[in-house]
Amino acid sequence: MGVLRTNSESLPAAEPGGRVSQSTFYSRTRRRIGYWAILIGLIPGAAIMFIPFFWMYISSFKTPKEILQPSITWLPKTFYTAGYVETWQEATILQGYGNSLLIAGVTTILAVFTSAVCGYVFAKKEFAGKNLLFIFVLSTIMVPFFMLFIPSFVLYFKLGLKNTYLGLILPGVFTPFGILITRQFLHSVPNELLDAARADGAGDIRILWHIIIPLSRSVLSAIAILSFLGTFNDFLWPLVMIDDRHMFTLPLVLRLITGRQATREDQVLAAAVMSITPILIFFIIFQRHIIRGIALTGLKG
């Protein structure tokens, strides 16, 4: 799978003469056994990772009574969907989804754009104070979130951005990490290419749009994925910024449902399933890109 290649096939299997020698044969058999041992040995680990998901899906079709039975039942006795119907009718989930998608979508587009522009400028342009400015950007990576949490809250509060979409979008628009990895990547783009484009009369905007962005697609898509997941799943910042129920993001809606006075277990499970299913489908479709993107940024960082 792309970058995540394995080493297992790289041992030479045959002697130069084409005949499989005795010792290679034994080591190959041993590798085979080792391979299967690992494959099977990992099953319990995978089961632990997977069972909570499986149980959540199965139980969301159980009656509230059956969910709270002392003994584990794997398959529901009756196919019960009232939890889904009721949660759906309340429509807060859908609204939460809409809000989260809007915020995460806009943030992601802007974050990718700023990363591309700033990465390009830092990698290929010369101006006074560039290094100082870059060190300044870098230093913001080092500052952990909770340090900035209260000052930023106070700032946004004073700017009147509480209960606005803008207040949720702005913090994610500039990602120093994104700027850093785009810059590192663009260093490897030869200057001659840009000079040639400039000789053909392309301005900075055209260079950015037709050369820089297409070339750094892999890096930018990694930034997009991380930025989207981060914004979509964020809880703490929306929690303090938003009190208006119509603007609740998905995590806040979920908290509303779990935190209710008389919690209905079937509704909780239905809400969990409804909120996670699109994310999981998205992940399974783009699994290769997402994992590669994470790996890419991990190695750089």
């Binding site: 297992s8 952990p144 996670i276 994992i291």
Partner: protein, 254 residues
Amino acid sequence: MFNWDLLSEAIFVGGDNFVKMWKDKLFLNGLKISFIFIGIEVPAILALEILFAVLFSKLGRFSQKVYLTIFFMPVITPWLVVIMMWGFIFYPNVGLLSGFGQLFGLDIVSPLAFRDTALYAMIVMTIWKFVGFGTVIFLVGINEVPAVQYEAAIIDGAGPWAQFRHITLPLIRPILLGMSIVSFIGALQIFEPFFIMTRGGPIDATRTFSLYLYQQAFDQLRFGYSSAMAFFMFILLLGISVIQLVVVRSRWEY
């Protein structure tokens, strides 16, 4: 450094907030809880991540893909859903965990109900959520190791452990360093499970530093005090990161 509730004017109180911190039992308790959490969670998750990465690197293309997908699912799942799922696992008497306990004749009530176990339950849940992330990163690092090195080692008669100790580990050292700092800071900032699941209880046993910081600011409206705590932690983290950097560099330099 101010006494400030956001609505009135801030009053400058100098270093008072920093002095107050050391007399605040809940703050000290929060520090303690956070460091117990980090002290167990970070080494455990790093060890598991490396273990799974090594095992995954031996798999074939398809099986690796399947396992990676499964291990990565919790990473992309929002904390809120993770908390819901694990809420049912830890449910008193009828949860999955007590159900499994019954299979073996054990009577497990709920780990969240006791001061001794609640924090460990949180640690297990956190590891479950994040182990896939580091596994992917270590796996890439391990795959960067040239196969020739292993072949040479096998010819020299090195077993799996020796291969790991003398080839893999030294070569993934930079990633280990990065991941240990990232996990450390990440573990300190974990907030949702404590805020929603345990609410700091039972009896402050899971009132971590980050939860206390939030509660001081947004429940008690002591923004100045809360900022002082954040600033203190920042300085502490900076120090720890520098030490980590120095220790890892010096111990493993060849």
